[in-house]
């Protein structure tokens, strides 16, 4: 018999043995289901994990996680567990459950079960070792699967939210004949900045605007990329024959812009939106005069 064949045989034997041991393990876990599950739930409460959930909820979830855990050990297939953990994450993420909690409870379960194995095989060290050899890789893989499932679900939620934010399009509004305002609120990333510019340039064309007021009162922070993009937007608007007035630069943003050395020489800036609109009206030759017989005055 060649050595490779021998080692293949050896492997087969080990796999068969390990499956056999796992089945023994599963039988043990099924037998002691009530007690182990309760201990696990108690350990979760002790460790102050899943504080967002009530005791009953924890117990119900613990039961279904336990059953899925044992089921995965028994069948050795992870598809069911993957979809279960996705499902579980979907339910608990909106409740504010954190990643460390999910990883924590799965690791707790692994430890609780390992302890019960120690207790059961304490007389037979060789057997205990062999059981742990079978148990540990499977248990670690389960912990891994659940954690990855949770993180993936979270990332999916984050992506969805980013998408939603992106779709909150920034309106380009006409306030007077030939005068547009573009109020920007929230975080500007390069992609959104690009979208804003495209919308603005198109707006200038369709509304035949001569003056545009970009109001960034609602922008909390700005980095070099976005600041440069703003300058580019101003220049591109000029190429279309429109003058841009930027308003509402917060002291922080003003400092950032000066520190990173963006060339603001070409930018027209006014303190607030009102001042910006007033200057735009002057540029366009409007004069706003209060009427004496006003209903409000």
């Amino acid at each position: 018999m060649s050595s490779s064949k021998r080692s293949a045989n050896h492997m087969q034997r080990t796999v068969a043995q390990s499956t056999e041991l796992l089945q023994e393990l599963v039988a043990h876990l099924r037998q002691n289901r009530t007690q182990l599950r309760e201990e696990w739930a108690n350990r979760i409460t002790e460790a102050q994990l899943l504080t967002a959930m009530t005791k009953e909820e924890i117990f119900t979830e613990a039961t279904s996680v336990y059953d899925n855990y044992v089921e995965t050990l028994a069948t050795g297939t992870f598809e069911a567990l993957q979809s279960y953990s996705r499902n579980l994450s979907e339910r608990i993420i909106p409740r504010g459950v954190e990643t460390h909690e999910v990883v924590g409870i799965v690791l707790l379960l692994r430890d609780v079960l390992a302890r019960s194995l120690f207790a059961k095989y304490q007389g037979d060290f060789t057997m205990l070792n062999r059981i742990l050899d079978a148990y540990e890789p499977a248990a670690n893989r389960i912990a891994n699967t659940v954690a990855v499932g949770f993180v993936q679900e979270r990332e999916r939620v984050i992506r969805q939210q980013q998408e939603a934010i992106r779709e909150l399009s920034t309106p380009v509004l006409q306030v007077r004949e030939r005068l547009l305002i573009l109020p920007i609120i929230g975080v500007i990333d390069p992609q959104r900045a690009r979208q804003l510019t495209e919308q603005l340039l198109r707006g200038i064309r369709t509304n035949r605007a001569k003056v545009v007021v970009i109001d960034i009162t609602g922008v909390a922070a700005m980095d070099a990329t976005v600041a440069n993009h703003l300058v580019q937007t101003v220049e591109a608007s000029r190429l279309l024959g429109a003058t841009v007035i930027v308003t509402g630069l917060s002291p922080e943003i003003a400092q950032t812009i000066v520190t990173i050395g963006v060339d603001l020489g070409k930018m027209n800036t006014v303190g607030d939106l009102q001042g910006g609109i007033e200057q735009a009206e002057r540029l366009l030759g409007y004069k706003v005069v209060p009427v004496a017989d006003n209903a409000l005055s």
Binding site: I204, R205, R208, K210, A236, L239, L240
Partner: protein
């Protein structure tokens, strides 16, 4: 392809109809300067609405035209730059400083008329 240059009162209007080669651009420059001198024009409008690309040579030539015509005491306005072209130009750093721009022909004429009214 030659760019037609129309005389409209005191102004000249050059409408670019299709993408121009470098030679065409130089020809446009020569023709515009000749006509400004011949007609004693006060202003020139270059309409680039039909262009969907503006490279550095085109940008530089347009700036040169503006500067040369300014030396003759006349104003130049570039009109009709498309939004996408404008953004691409800015990203390439082709900002055409010192060159007047307007949305379209109508705006360009209004701009030149305002300038002329101020100068007289």
């Amino acid at each position: 392809m030659e760019v037609p240059i129309l005389k409209q009162g005191r102004f000249l209007i050059a409408t670019i109809q299709a993408a121009l080669s470098d030679a065409d651009l130089l020809q446009l420059r020569r023709a515009l300067i000749d006509k400004v001198i011949r007609f004693r024009s006060h202003g020139v409008i270059v309409d680039v609405t039909a262009l969907d690309v503006m490279d550095s040579f085109a940008t530089r030539t347009l700036r040169d035209i503006t500067n040369v015509i300014r030396l003759r005491g006349a104003d130049t306005v570039i009109v009709g730059i498309q939004p996408e072209v404008a953004f691409a130009m800015v990203q390439l750093g082709l900002t055409m400083e010192g060159v007047a721009t307007a949305l379209d022909l109508e705006e360009g004429l209004a701009h030149l008329q305002r300038r002329a009214a101020r100068n007289t």
